[in-house]
Amino acid sequence: EPEVTQTPSHQVTQMGQEVILRCVPISNHLYFYWYRQILGQKVEFLVSFYNNEISEKSEIFDDQFSVERPDGSNFTLKIRSTKLEDSAMYFCASSEWTGELFFGEGSRLTVL
């Protein structure tokens, strides 16, 4: 069964460093998303991406964040200068339409 894959599963970084989280969505899906879950809190929407541009973003998704689909298969989330509060589980998701999302296993980011 097709699935969304994410790398790395866990990344530890120093505050101020750049981080890139990678995702390979399901191949025939057209919509891509990033969600975030701070430990013990609810899952929060960050950004949606369609037709090579951002469709919608939340207030969390500030200038420190960017997304890219560099090669037609990968979908990346970049955090330019990480802060302690960026520590969270980051989930990538994809969908054929904007309803049923398929999630990856998540990338845990720890900022020290």
């Binding site: 919509y31 998303y33 969600y35 809190q41 609810k42 899952v43 929060e44 929407f45 949606s48 369609y50 469709s55 919608e56 939340s58 589980m89 989930f91 998701a93 969908s95 904007t98 309803g99 049923e100 999302l101 398929f102 999630f103 990856g104 296993e105 998540g106």
Partner: protein, 117 residues
């Protein structure tokens, strides 16, 4: 803005018994979708069941069924014949179907379900 509320932080059930997880939501949209996602300790979020708001019939998926009360804005999940593998965090989620939601799911806080042998 939509809100989704799960008022039960934790629930437990004996294997083979039935458990119901509660979810309420608030929206001004007339058409939308509701979901229950399961997040086991392995972390991946798995879709359990989906309900379209325009459908009056409650969705069922094997041992999982929902009680969708549109007027009350309630969407509970019933798990019958609970199994140890059902142990997980369960999230209720909402998405508008107005064509502008762009996959922006609104999640509840989650309910940790533990199934005891």
């Amino acid at each position: 803005a939509q809100t989704v509320t799960q008022s039960q932080p934790e629930m437990s059930v004996q294997e083979a018994e039935t458990v119901t997880l509660s979810c309420t939501y608030d929206t001004s949209e007339s058409n939308y979708y509701l979901f229950w996602y399961k997040q086991p300790p392995s972390r991946q979020m798995i879709l359990v069941i989906r309900q379209e708001a325009y459908k009056q019939q409650n969705a069922t998926e094997n041992r999982f069924s929902v009680n969708f009360q549109k007027a009350a804005k309630s969407f509970s999940l019933k798990i019958s014949d609970s199994q140890l593998g059902d142990t997980a965090m369960y999230f209720c989620a909402f998405i508008g179907a107005g064509g502008t939601s762009y996959g922006k799911l609104t999640f509840g806080q989650g309910t940790i379900l533990t199934v005891h042998p």
